[in-house]
């Protein structure tokens, strides 16, 4: 994991892809968002969505899953190199989340994150804030989700 000082505006992480199966969509929705168009194919077909589609919170949560996997891989690589591991997180929140298109059963979403701003935290001097533009595109290249995420990242202990 990079320390705050090593994170640069313009850094891009391709986080990987995830395919939403009908069972995944319904499993999430039964627990957290049991609206008819997320839990039942026939009801979804009659809705304005036209087919079973994922809860927007499910689409967003899978971005977090792939981002967490990426952070873990980077931490493991740093340990292998004998380097210190910077702490990422928690996040302070996010803004401007847009659910731009439905994510239908069978869609494969490619997630990414691009750093758009870095600044030192006023409230936590041992951390910096990394602001990223998070997004997901479907297999047709259409953007389905985007948001602006702000996360605390540890500063290098040896920096003034």
């Amino acid at each position: 994991m990079k320390f705050f000082e090593d994170v640069l505006v313009g850094d891009v992480d391709e986080l990987g892809r995830y395919t939403f199966t009908p069972d995944d969509i319904k499993s999430f929705a039964h627990r957290f968002d049991p609206q008819r168009f997320h839990i039942d194919e026939e009801e979804a077909a009659r809705s304005h969505f036209g087919a079973l589609c994922a809860s927007g919170w499910h689409t967003a949560s899978m971005w977090m899953r792939l981002a967490a996997d990426q952070r873990r891989r980077e931490a493991e690589a740093a340990i292998t190199r004998g380097e210190p591991v910077a702490q990422w997180g928690p996040a302070a929140g996010f803004r401007e989340l847009k659910w731009l298109k439905p994510v239908y059963a069978g869609d494969t979403i490619a997630y990414r994150a691009e750093v758009i701003e870095t600044r030192v935290s006023q409230s936590r001097p041992e951390s910096g804030l990394v602001v990223s533009f998070a997004s997901g595109d479907n297999q047709k290249g259409e953007r389905v989700i985007s948001f602006v995420s702000t996360v605390f990242v540890q500063r290098r202990p040896d920096m003034p």
């Binding site: 999430f28 627990r31 957290f32 968002d33 049991p34 609206q35 008819r36 168009f37 009801e43 304005h48 969505f49 809860s55 927007g56 919170w57 967003a60 949560s61 899978m62 977090m64 899953r65 967490a68 996997d69 952070r71 873990r72 702490q87 990422w88 997180g89 928690p90 996040a91 302070a92 929140g93 996010f94 803004r95 401007e96 989340l97 847009k98 659910w99 936590r124 951390s127 948001f147 605390f152």
Partner: protein, 155 residues
Amino acid sequence: MPEPKLYFEDFEPGAVAVYGPRLVTREEIIAFAAEFDPQPMHLDEAAASATLLGGLAASGWHACALTMRMICDGFVLDAASMGSPGVDEVRWLKPLRPGTQVRLRATIVDKRASNSRPDRGFVNYLFEMIDETDTVLTTITTPLMVLRRVPGTAA
């Protein structure tokens, strides 16, 4: 499906409702994190105590998902809901700890009919997840898209 009870016309700006309570258990915090946010601060007490959270706490996305479930049970499943185009802002202000009894305070900030689609409107909500002492843990500001009972003409 049953006929919806709540349409765009039924949402009154300024109205405040409180939903819940709902107990958030250690087990569900870890289960959500294992599936959607597998970071040590959400999975393991010892590892979490070494992080800025200072102990095990739920993923912020878990707080969002729980908010969605609480508003589904509260009113969304009774409404002519068409989902939401997005979320203006989410602020994770305080950690959501295991064993917290959360409630959700829902305030209708304002609403507007859709300019382009005369059959629907947007109801702008502020959702605040609060604990037993009324401390606000998470805030979510978001428009919900709801069908109109009587479709108007496009503006």
